[in-house]
């Protein structure tokens, strides 16, 4: 992941992350101005920049927006924990078995509850071989 850089080099991903952090830490129904003011950046961002980021996040269903009067107010669609949990569940379920395994390379892939005793025995053997 990119190391923190100056604002001019900040990628859209960095901004999205910063905006999500603000929304997670705030009450629901934030205005663009409120989000912009709460952003922890070296310089104040343009209104349109923050609006663009919020728009992108809304399209990704990470942020919900409600029209209040003439303006929109924004809220995080789910807490960080809910987002992580729901997304992890989804990514484990679907996709053709081959695709998932090829897309992400897991350290351990597959349930091994049945073979745990077997595994522990094999580990003991490894330890004896390399420690004894």
């Amino acid at each position: 992941m990119p190391v923190r850089r100056s604002l001019f080099a900040a990628s859209l991903g960095d901004l999205e992350r910063a905006v999500m952090k603000v929304l997670w830490a705030s009450r629901p129904g934030q205005s663009v101005r409120q989000v912009r003011d709460a952003l922890d950046t070296e310089r104040v961002l343009a209104y349109t920049t923050v609006l663009t980021v919020l728009d992108r996040l809304a399209k990704k269903h990470l942020v919900t927006r409600v029209r209040t009067g003439r303006a929109w107010s924004y809220s995080a669609a789910a807490s960080r924990e809910e987002l992580t949990a729901g997304w992890m569940r989804r990514s484990l379920e679907t996709h053709d078995d081959v695709d998932r395994r090829a897309a992400m390379l897991y350290f351990l892939d597959g349930a091994t509850q049945d073979e745990l005793a077997d595994l522990r025995a094999a580990l003991t053997e490894v330890e004896q071989r390399h420690l004894g």
């Binding site: 960080r80 390379l105 350290f107 091994t112 073979e115 745990l116 420690l131």
Partner: protein
């Protein structure tokens, strides 16, 4: 004739060879050489399949038809059929390659974008500049998103359960996947696998390749930490953490995947013995198999 031999060879490489190879145990002790052999069988099958029809048609074209003119129509028809068949095979390969390639990259991109939003840096005590991130999710998982914009992820449960050296082993294992671009090897095999008609696919072959790639990454991890931390990490990650689901359940069923873990532990156990004869055998076989289609075409040219 050559064409028949080539067709038989292609069928053998695509259908019989994966099944036979995946029954052998000893190649796993030389995972890199074994993967070379697997790649050779796959590419040899493709080569033979593409050469089959030209091998049938070209001899007639080169020597010229010494039959009476009435055969020209047949020859032309034969040529059209030949081109169509070869083009058909190429088309299947290219289409599958495109589908698999774009699918994989789209999956990874979506995953990466979400990851960049929710993942957090390693907890205190670990070097903050390290390039891996923590997912605030229950259970013990560790994985990498390979490719140019790679990511390395461990779950909070995994970081909490692993001792320092074990963590190093897991990270070294995933890093070797990223650095050695194992994702490209897997992609090649996925494309070959899915190019074969569904009922004829050798699923054992695909699983064996996955195991070999894990064994290769295990070797890289052992070069960093030695065998013990890696072995311990494997067992720790396999244990379900209290109140949380275990590692991702393979849709193929626990037995298939569980065998992998057990096999990996056995390979770690045997890792201190080099298997040069085995490796040499595999590499020689790979060379022979790669050259065979060419050798089969030769007489007719």
């Amino acid at each position: 004739m050559s064409a028949l031999l080539l067709a038989l060879w292609a069928a053998m490489m695509a259908y019989a060879a994966p099944r036979a190879l995946s029954r052998l145990r000893w190649p796993r002790r030389s995972p890199r050489a074994a993967l070379l052999l697997w790649q050779a069988t796959g590419l040899s099958a493709v080569l033979a399949a593409l050469l089959t029809v030209p091998a049938a048609v070209l001899p007639r074209l080169l020597t010229g038809p010494d039959e009476p003119r009435s055969w020209d129509g047949w020859l032309l028809t034969g040529l059209v059929v030949a081109t169509a068949a070869t083009a058909g095979i190429l088309l299947v390969l290219l289409r599958t390659g495109h589908r698999v390639g774009t699918g994989l990259r789209r999956l990874r991109r979506e995953h990466r974008e979400l990851l960049d939003l929710v993942a957090i840096p390693p907890p205190s005590g670990h070097d903050a500049s390290e390039d891996w991130r923590v997912l605030d999710a229950p259970g013990r998982t560790a994985y990498c998103l390979p490719g140019l914009r790679h990511r390395l992820v461990l779950s909070r449960g995994a970081v909490a359960s692993l001792h320092r050296e074990e963590l190093r082993a897991v990270i070294a294992h995933e890093r070797s996947h990223i650095r050695a671009r194992h994702d490209l090897v897997l992609e090649l095999f996925t494309v070959l696998h899915q190019s074969v008609p569904r009922r004829l696919r050798a699923r054992d072959g695909m699983r064996e390749v996955q195991l070999l790639i894990e064994a290769l990454a295990d070797r890289a991890a052992m070069a960093v930490t030695g065998p013990l931390p890696l072995a311990r990490a494997l067992v720790v990650m396999a244990e379900p953490s209290t109140g949380a689901p275990g590692p991702p359940v393979s849709t193929e069923g626990a037995l298939g995947a569980g065998r992998h873990t057990r096999t990996r532990l056995e390979l770690i156990l045997e890792s201190d013995r080099p298997h040069l004869v085995g490796a040499a055998t595999l590499i020689t076989a790979a060379a022979v198999i790669t050259l065979s289609p060419v050798l089969l075409v030769w007489p007719s040219v």
